[in-house]
Amino acid sequence: MSIPLPVFVAVPLVTAFLLPIFGERGKRIATLLANLATASLLGLAIAVIGKSGVYEIGNWSIPLGINLVLDGLSSLMLLVIGTVGTAAMLFSARYMEQYTAKAKYLSLFLLMIAGMNGVVLSGDIFNLFVFLEIASIASYALVGFGCGAEELEAAFKYMVLGSIASIFVLFAVGLVYGNTGSLNMAYIGKAIQASGLNLGLTFALSLFIAGFSLKAALVPFHAWLPDAHPSAPAPISAMLSGVLIKTLGVYALARILFNVFGISLHTGWILVILGLTSMVAGAFLALGQWDLKRLLAYSSISQIGYVVLGIGLGGLILARGGNPAWASLALLGGLFHLANHSVYKSLLFLTSGSVEMSTGTRDMRKMGGLGGKLPFTRAACTVASASVAGVPPFSGFWSKLILVIAAVQAHFIWVAAVIVFVSLCTLIMYLKVQRHVFLGELPKTLKQIREHRGAMVVAMISLACLCILMCLLVIIPSLRSSILDPAVKALVDGLEYSTKVIGTQ
């Protein structure tokens, strides 16, 4: 009995379509149902840890039909999506009361989750494109959800760049189909192994890299992110920054480059350079920001750079024929940083939402001394800031440490230096947040504010606890071997993917 993988897509999709039936009157039921759906997704994601399998939709065997593939990497991504989705949904139960049309918001949210789960599970490049579009269209609508002038402007910018990225991906899918005669990733991998890259496939590869980098907001392609992420409602910023850019960008890029085309020196270098430029540019741009959420958005670019750098470094070592142990260490660092970043960045966005809801502004110059007024928010924000800056006991430290060790061992001393340097910049950035938001003098205008308790605080505190506990993922060997190691192995194996998928049917 194979695992019924389509539930990961079916549960949020069915719930999303059920919600509008309740209409505006059944808001409570709708909220409850949506929370149940995300929580059950998290439960399902925990249940499939360590398992792997192939699912054929409609009993059509794979060269003919569509298949869903679960392996270590997908399982890790499902877990991340489930965690952040649950927390953000819990947070929005209270936060979204200030907007109208909550049922529509909830169903768009669930559609986005359905699309992301589909991207992660899909074993077929066209299906990947379809799910990518479902998630993207839902996110375009969610960015513009507030319907203010700035939100709409940001949504339009995001939408134009996002659509161009999607069209690039679709073009690449067409080119791959024309050159290999298959849409299934496993069969494409086999065909490319047999024939090698020709001109069309190289062009398709570059289109894939451009398209997914646009979705992941790596630096030359990052223009939409600093506008889109701050404009969305806070739980959506958490989802966008926390998981959307990783699923649609980094995951898809890693999957295509490692498992379908096979990593080569060129693609490895491209990833490393993209990662480094994003890290440095994102950090410098973030330092000058006064808008709280904008600062967080730029910091996301810089942190995504770490993830891509880790993955690219691992690929580079693999392609050079270096020691696979160091390659998997670099990949481990990248993927662990991905999981870490999704937790603490979504937590930071949630806290920024709490601050914004209480004070009504996002400008850090108008804040100050909020630590006494918003104790829970402040605690959560401190934990998350310490994590993102890499202060030792917190999770961010471990992933950066692993990346540095891997870079030094692979004789990329300068890469290690850049990692440490950007980490310092991040520390400065978050000290600035602490200083201007939570410490200092309370302005007169903000004397009357109070913290919004309830579901929002629960969501923030649970993510903060998770943030502290994340380091156990690498320290405890049994946890590491069940969650992170299979994900690393899925990438290290590279083109073995096709034999695994075709062999296990």
């Binding site: 999709l13 069915v14 379509f17 059920l18 919600l19 509008p20 039936i21 409609g58 529509k104 319907c147």
Partner: protein, 161 residues
């Protein structure tokens, strides 16, 4: 044009009131015979929606809204999508896999190239037709509302296979 948005001339109104039924029937035909002839849920749904859009152009928005209120259309939209998912889940329950064509395999093989054949495919077509028709109608209606005053825009969501 006598009074602005209230519609077009009497010729257009008369012709469109005759034609709308034909268009609607043609849409139903395309949906039902989707598994046999070119067409199917998506094309048929668009034809269904276009009959209402024609009415909207001829008679003005208020007339159409009285005929098919926004809330009802929105519910139809959800019901269509839900039915489509239901077909998939029934396939899981009876056929062992999502989207398994359980009717064709076990219960109702039918005769090929007849109306009742191909198992669950006509059912999915009907669901998609409902979904696409309702959502396209909603999209065009809300776009026309948006032109005049601020209102929530319907999100387009696609689940066509």
């Amino acid at each position: 044009m006598i009074d602005g948005m209230k519609g077009m001339t009497v010729i257009v109104k008369t012709i469109s009131s005759w034609v709308k039924l034909l268009i609607f029937l043609f849409g139903i035909y395309i949906v039902l015979f989707g598994h046999l002839t070119p067409g199917g849920g998506f094309a048929g749904g668009i034809i269904l929606a276009s009959s209402y859009v024609l009415l909207m152009f001829a008679y003005g928005r208020e007339f159409v809204e009285a005929n098919l209120p926004l809330g009802l259309a929105s519910k139809l939209d959800s019901v269509g999508a839900f039915l489509f998912a239901l077909v998939a889940i029934l396939g899981f329950a009876f056929g062992g896999a999502f989207f398994a064509n359980f009717l064709y395999q076990n219960y109702l093989p039918g005769e090929s190239l007849r109306l009742i054949s191909a198992g669950t495919i006509p059912l999915s077509n009907i669901a998609i037709g409902l979904k696409v028709g309702a959502s396209l109608f909603l999209i065009i209606l809300t776009l026309s509302i948006c032109c005049h005053y601020e209102a929530g825009s319907e999100e387009p969501n696609d689940d066509e296979e």
